[in-house]
Symmetry: C2
Subunit: 516 residues, 2 copies
């Protein structure tokens, strides 16, 4: 039996009592299944949304309606586990269902599609509706396409940043200064695991959230997890940061920016990366942990996300401007992305490599870059004088204060591995060697990362690739170029075959041609 | 155990053997569920596609990958019924799974997003990949957003029309002339059910596919279904059309344009209707039934899809041009959409009303328009001289040849109701009356359709609204304005309450103000 409610626009919406039929399956989306006849009565088309209310738990949820003639009967509504959880119901019972009117934000998406500028209120409404599941993937995709085509200006980028910030959870560190760093589209190298202990050792507070690898061979969260657990709660992040000065955790565990995560998921299939959205996404994440001083690392090179100096400069300026609007002091460093950052590829190899730098056993381009980033942060927040940040950072590395701080962080996060020697590698090893003599002309970071993946990384934490040469280095015949580590012979062979067919390290004579 | 295949771009793709776990549920999309660890090994992110091959049935399918840590174990792949059906498997067994490389068509979508013109080959590739499920909702949505923003020019519209036509099934009627008609965005009135028997009686062949109502109170397929079954196969459509001259069936049952159906589903939530796509969608559907002579009806009015004369003229010209490119002769008629077409709202009421026109009991604006459309078709295909089509059509109505043809069609489709008297209405009736005297100023077609829906249409076929007055008609106090029919008292009351609060028929004095 249907009850009728009148809405503003003169349309009528039934509220229909329907019996819940629970499916013990996660759909990973909020979807409910109703019979086609009920859909007609409710005025619901496929992919339209419905609002479901449980009169017992008093909970309400908006879902997409999937229509069926077989899975549920008339007056029944099929709910996947995700939806029953949101409604707080465990048993079948009666629910109240009605068509969910089209949200106002759809009109704002169309406005952006027409090329008009959106206000803060309009962007906030879009973000809120994404959060409440009132806008679905199709609408978010059209919105991102419109932002990609027409662009966001500075005001809109700032509005999006603030809207994302307000919609998510926020971390409040009761100490000062709170700092943060972020790298846009690098491939390997774990500067974060060096910068965090340096700046924490200098008296800064840095609650660093990082990502896991998906298409690369390791993310910072994967590498850090070799040393210590990274799935910490917001409460743990707060208390450890306030006590020790820093953490290095997996951002996915804390859900600080749920709407941003949804948008990123949509952008991925088309590799859409509207500049305004990248900036809003990153700056809002930094603001959500309460950072007041932030350094951005923008590597430029043919194999990384930012491929031209011009695009990097353009992005760098916008990061600074939008950061300022959010009350932050921001510095953006454009860095050399033509060479690998450090020589390790794979979670354990990278963790071991970072610990070697902290232990003073290595000082290479990764260490150098980390000191530049840490130095910039120290200058920004006043912990070092202008022009003296790099030296201060290097000093904290040299005197092992950063190492000591890293060990405190590992311990506070519940870790048990405190030195490079304790980070074990996979037991099967294959060495790729130079064919003749010559010189290292170029090193392909993407290919090395792919070899590490074929060898098992990041799922096999101890698998990966260790590069043994540098660009410009003179080679002898049979000199080892890199090592591949894998957990079993099959994976090692596959990675070896791939390495044989694809020259990750290009060698050549320095003299290319000779005129006589 | 994973096997590696090298692809063109130097990336490696594992082929992984995985055990199928079947879920006895329709997902209504092609989705497979894999464990997050397998996703990492395959290099698959959420919403990426995977290719699944069954070595026993030799069938292959591309699906979206949904990641889980709970629903399936590592080395297992969860398949909904849709996917197991595509693979032809009924029991659990081993399947070969690999990441599906990004299709080339993604680059063409991005090209359109950048504002560039697409070639026929590029548009065809996009259409093919939508058909093969290699492009999903997110990508189709971004594509439609780009087409909405940048538009399709005449070449692109023609390319899209041809691509949609080539991708779907095609009906081949071995008789001539094959004709068709199509109405863009009207609300009520079943001109199709009058045009089809008239032109068939004149010796044309018209295999008419129609839609069901979703947000309105009846579609042509719903109204025709009151008289005869409408879920016919392509074979039945062909043989009946060749024998009798015409059919009126539900297009959804024959799947002539599967890609177009997917695109329309995506366009709906944002009410995206890029002009080029509307034209391609409609013209390709007409071409797919083999029509050589086509008349388009474009009603213009405040309550219908096309609201300005200018837009209607623009569309009309493009229909003619694109039709020509597809080898059709096309005429587009811009018609008056400010008043309801006929007076019936709801499947049985509309079917009964149409039969009354065919039986010669009524001749109103719907009959007039139907004769105009049929006349235009008869002139186009040479069955009537220029300027004599309308009279010829009217004659076929007057001499009952059209009625006789309609009865043949009903019989051939397996129907049992051959006259207006046999079309029964719902037993509960409520009459809405004029309050005082005055004149009918306007009739709101949308509100009448909503009242019919609240009364139960289109799910309750015999429910609906019968309008009893015309625009400009002088009213007496208590004169009946319209009747509401419903299958039970509750629905009748709800519809009555709504009718009381919303004036579907606006009345007023002819003299608005009097100066003395």
């Amino acid at each position: 039996m249907a009850d009728q409610i009148k809405t503003k626009n003169g349309n009528s919406h039934y509220v229909q009592k329907m019996r819940a039929k629970l499916f013990d399956i996660e759909a990973r989306k909020l979807i409910a299944i109703i019979h086609e006849i009920d859909a007609k009565e409710l005025g619901v088309m496929p992919l339209d949304r419905i609002e479901i209310y449980c009169p017992i738990t008093k909970m309400r949820v908006t879902t997409v309606a999937d229509l069926t003639t077989t899975m549920v009967k008339k007056n029944e509504i099929g709910l996947f586990r995700d939806v029953s959880r949101e409604l707080g119901i465990k048993k079948c019972g009666f629910l109240e269902v009605k068509a969910s009117p089209q949200p106002d934000s759809v009109a704002y998406i169309k406005k952006k599609m027409k090329g008009d500028k959106l206000s803060f209120e309009e962007i906030s409404e879009i973000v809120r509706d994404i959060g409440k599941n009132k806008l679905d993937e199709i609408e978010i995709s059209a919105f991102m396409a419109a932002v990609y085509i027409h662009g966001f200006d500075l005001d809109e980028t700032t509005s999006m940043t603030k809207a994302l910030l307000l919609d998510g959870k926020q971390l409040k560190i009761d100490k000062t200064p709170v700092v943060d760093k972020h790298c846009i589209g690098g491939i390997n190298g774990r500067a974060t695991m060096i910068v965090v202990p340096i700046v924490a050792a200098a008296g800064c507070y840095i609650p660093k959230t990082s990502s896991r690898a998906v298409t690369s061979c390791a993310g910072t969260a994967d590498a850090m997890e070799v040393l210590a657990p990274v799935n910490l709660s917001i409460g743990q992040i707060k208390s450890i940061t306030e006590k020790i000065g820093g953490v290095i955790v997996w951002g996915g565990a804390v859900d600080l920016a749920p709407v941003d995560d949804k948008i990123i998921k949509i952008e991925h299939p088309l590799a859409l990366d509207p500049e305004g959205q990248i900036i809003a996404s990153v700056v809002s994440k930094k603001a959500s942990v309460g950072a007041k001083y932030v350094v951005f690392d923008l590597p430029v090179g043919p194999d990384v996300k930012i491929q031209t100096r011009e695009r990097a400069e353009n992005l760098a300026k916008k990061f600074v401007e939008v950061g300022k609007k959010l009350g932050m002091r921001v510095e953006a460093l454009i860095t050399d992305g033509t060479e690998p950052s450090g020589k390790a590829f794979g979670p354990a190899l990278e963790a071991k490599y970072v610990m070697e730098i902290l232990e003073g056993r290595r000082f290479d381009n990764l260490a150098q870059k980390s000191c530049e980033l840490a130095g910039a942060l120290l200058e920004l927040c006043g912990k070092a004088q202008r022009g003296k940040g790099f030296a201060a950072a290097k000093q904290l590395l040299a005197n092992k204060k950063a190492l000591e701080k890293m060990r405190q962080i590992i311990k506070a996060q519940g870790g048990k591995i405190f030195s490079s020697e304790d980070a074990k590698l996979a037991k099967f090893k294959h060495v790729v060697r130079a064919k003749g003599d010559g010189t290292v002309k170029s090193i392909n970071v993407r290919l090395l990362s792919t070899i590490a993946r074929i060898a098992g990384a990041p799922a096999d934490k101890r698998a990966g690739v260790m590069l043994l040469v540098s660009k410009g280095e003179k080679l002898k015949p049979e000199q080892p170029l890199f090592e591949v580590y894998a957990e079993n012979m099959r994976k090692l062979e596959l990675a070896g075959e791939f390495a044989k067919k694809n020259s990750a390290v290009e060698t050549g004579d320095i003299v290319l041609e000779k005129f006589e």
